[in-house]
């Protein structure tokens, strides 16, 4: 039995209604929790790129890639280990404005973490931070002591260190 690890899945697809249902069902019927999911346009016009983070064994990961690629509208799917990608996640924190002005420590946390203030008014201010999972978790822990009114975090987005020859594949068609 292989050990469970975090894998990032990249899927290139046609942009069609209903595909989310098909792809999520592949994970669902095998009782695999999707840690995060993101879809967006890709480097290729009219092709969507999905980035899905899951934790499972490599053996199962390979089988799931096969099942994903089997879907008619999926062009290609890959899985990557943590050291094979460059990734970022993004998050927003809404915090009472009084802390910004009265708690010097918050100001230091913001400065040290390279977070950005994206909105300020009398009642609250909003911080944005992008980074790796552990950076965001640390930032979250540091701010939690002061009270967080709202917190939200995006799915992971990633690019690989190695080239993915998806454009060449599409030319063959």
């Amino acid at each position: 039995m292989c050990e469970n690890k975090v894998y990032t899945v990249s899927i290139y697809t046609e942009n069609n209604i209903g595909l989310l249902n098909r792809i999520s069902a592949i994970f669902q019927r095998r009782h695999i929790n999707i840690e995060s999911i993101n879809t967006s346009s890709s480097e290729i016009d009219h092709i969507s790129k999905w980035t899905i983070v899951v934790e499972l064994s490599e053996d199962r990961m390979k089988k799931i890639i096969g099942q994903i690629e089997k879907q008619v509208e999926v062009i290609k799917a890959y899985y990557h280990k943590e050291d094979e990608i460059i990734y970022q996640e993004s998050c927003l924190f809404k915090i009472k404005s009084e802390f910004l002005f009265e708690e010097r420590q918050i100001q230091n946390i913001i400065k040290d973490s390279n977070a950005k203030i994206v909105h300020v008014n009398r009642e609250f201010f909003v911080l944005e931070k992008s980074g790796r999972t552990e950076d965001i978790e640390l930032f979250h822990r540091e701010l939690k002591a002061f009270g967080i009114m709202q917190f939200t975090r995006s799915g992971r987005i990633a690019v690989t260190k190695d080239e993915m020859k998806i454009s060449e594949m599409l030319k063959v068609f």
């Binding site: 096969g66 008619v72 599409l170």
Partner: protein, 577 residues
């Protein structure tokens, strides 16, 4: 849109005229060569039925008595003809009633195009009358599905649907069409789909892998072939037979592979799996090279994977890349269409005989014959056996009939003992194990192959799940032979209760109606057999009948199907009693 981003490749355009979406659907079906479709009308599909009325001289619509029956009929039609089965139903319950048949087609790789009506597009998501999210519901049991809300999309989506359903590893596709799209008029033209950018249905065979496979096969001392439905789906029967004969390798079959090589062929060593033959199951764990062709190592075939053919090098011929290493790890995987792969492999194979190895199969068959087969097909004790009924049918049909079996003990007996001379003669629900499959599937099979004897073998349980399709048999005048093997039990469940649940027969005993009276109520000739002495004549009468015929055979109540690999056990732990 630039050409490079056109999603589908298309064949030349035919016609251009302004017509409604539902008439366009008729023209799409005709362009795809559809002559028969199975379905059931209802509110949201009425514009299509109105056009079916108009085109009834060119498209024969068979009204089933339940939408599930329509899907199974289309499956039977497809399985015996190799064509795409087409089903049509209304929205809501009509659509949801299709789901069992679609799931069955998905797991058994049967090409279907199912067309459902849907509420008008402005009502979508409003919980309108007979609205259901059939796209969401059918997603996990279809190869592809799509909802159409504009008439102009009908031709391109239908073209894509047929291409996806029949290409590569075939499967069911569902197309949901809103009622307004059925009414809407547009300039119709049709182009057959010949390729889709994101979909590569048939992998190209790798020559180096073929050479490696040939070298491994030629070096084998005790090779074993296990073939599945892939041979039939790729129409590779002739090349497969040539390959078996040249290589001299014993060949065993999965339940859906049955009939691809005649039962009587000297290198056909029988069925693998839970109720398969003793020899091929035992020797799976002794062969040095296991050559799997067009089969997916289903758990009913492999038993416990931890002890399945561990000593063997495995060569897996498969069209679906997702099947490679899914259950059994392949030493050599050959992706591609079975016919292409085997054609390329054949010249590399050496002619061999493996007489000692064959003798092992014969020795094990002799043991199985003595302990099981003899008692099943030539019983001396009181009480008719299912095996002797199948044996009697073999004698009367000389192995030329198509056997459509339901699910349960009789299915295993029918598959084990039927003689198949002709390919595509074993039509059964293998993967999903759908009780109620056989009667409607036999309707479709007989309609697709009217020149053949089609015999449905059904248990008393499964028969009552789709018994209403007798109405379809009667109305369509389908000269089908229906044999119900009645043991007044859900026999397979009862067998498991006996063996693994201390004979606690919970809800498996059936109090049955007068089946003969029911058949006669549908104006179908019928008789009931309770004694061995009546069997031969009854089967003769059935086979001689011109119209549909129903034969009920009352068999022993607590007969069991052996051999049997207990669930989760190794194939070599197969029990003979």
């Amino acid at each position: 849109m630039e050409e490079s981003y056109t999603l589908e490749k298309k064949e030349k355009t035919i016609t251009k005229e302004s017509i409604s979406g539902s008439e366009a659907l008729m023209k799409c079906l005709m362009a795809e060569g559809v002559e028969t479709l199975y379905g059931y009308p209802g509110g949201a599909i009425m514009p299509v039925y109105d056009q079916l009325y108009k085109y009834q001289d060119r498209i024969h619509h068979v009204m089933a008595r339940h939408e599930q029956g329509a899907t199974h009929a289309a499956q039977g039609y497809s399985r015996i003809s190799g064509k795409v089965g087409v089903v049509i139903a209304t929205s809501g319950p009509g659509a949801t009633n299709l789901v069992t048949g679609i799931a069955d087609a998905q797991i058994d790789s049967t090409p279907l195009v199912c067309i459902t009506g849907q509420v008008s597009s402005h009502l979508l998501g409003s919980d309108a009358f007979q609205e259901t999210d059939i796209i969401g519901i059918s997603t996990s049991v279809t190869k592809w599905n799509h909802q159409i809300t504009k008439a102009e999309d009908i031709p391109k989506v239908l073209a894509k649907a047929f291409f996806i359903a029949k290409s590569g590893r075939p499967g069911p596709v569902l197309i949901d069409i809103t009622k307004d799209a059925q009414f809407e008029e547009f300039d119709f033209s049709y182009q057959k789909c010949i390729g889709i950018r994101s979909y590569k249905p048939v992998p190209i065979v790798n020559k180096k892998q073929i050479e490696a496979a040939a070298a491994l096969i030629n070096s084998a001392k005790q090779p074993l072939i296990v073939w599945g439905q892939g041979i039939i789906l790729s129409e590779a029967e002739d090349i497969f037979k040539a390959l078996v004969e040249k290589s001299g390798i014993p060949a065993a079959w999965t339940i859906l592979g049955a009939s691809a090589l005649p039962t009587s062929h000297s290198l056909n060593v029988g069925m693998v799996g839970m109720h398969g033959n003793y020899g091929p199951n035992m020797l799976t764990n002794e062969c040095d090279v296991l050559i799997a062709i067009g089969m997916r190592f289903d758990d009913r075939v492999t038993g416990n994977l931890d002890s399945y053919a561990k000593q063997a090098k495995v060569i897996h011929f498969e069209i679906d890349p997702a099947e490679i290493d899914k259950n059994v790890t392949a030493d050599i995987a050959i992706l591609g269409d079975a016919k292409d792969s085997l054609t390329q492999l054949l010249p590399y194979l050496e002619e061999k005989t493996y007489s000692d190895w064959h003798q092992k199969f014969k020795d094990l068959y002799a043991i199985e014959y003595d302990k099981v087969i003899k008692n099943d097909i030539h019983p001396t004790k009181e009480g008719l056996t299912m095996g002797e009924v199948i044996h009697q049918i073999n004698l009367q049909t000389k192995g030329n009939a198509a056997i459509v079996s339901d699910v349960g003990q009789h299915q295993m007996i029918a598959c084990r003992y039927s003689n198949f001379n002709i390919t595509k003669s074993n039509i059964t629900s293998g993967g999903l194990g759908t009780m109620g499959f056989a009667l409607p599937a036999a309707i479709g099979a007989k309609m697709a192959a009217p020149e053949r004897d089609v015999i449905a073998i059904i248990g008393d349980g499964g028969y009552q799940m789709t018994i209403q399709e007798l109405g379809t048999v009667f109305q369509q005048r389908i000269p089908l032979k229906i044999v119900v093997l009645n043991n007044e039990f859900l026999g397979m469940v009862r067998q498991w209760q006996q063996l693994f649940f201390d004979k606690r027969y919970a809800s498996t005993e059936m109090t049955n109606p007068d089946f003969v009276a029911i058949a006669k109520g549908y104006y179908i000739d019928a008789q009931k057999v309770t004694k061995r002495s009546e069997l031969k004549l009854a089967v003769q009468e059935m086979m001689a009948s011109v119209g549909p015929y129903f034969l009920e055979v009352c068999v022993e109540k607590e007969g069991n199907v052996f051999p049997m690999i207990p669930s989760g056990a190794s194939v070599s732990e197969i029990r003979l009693e």
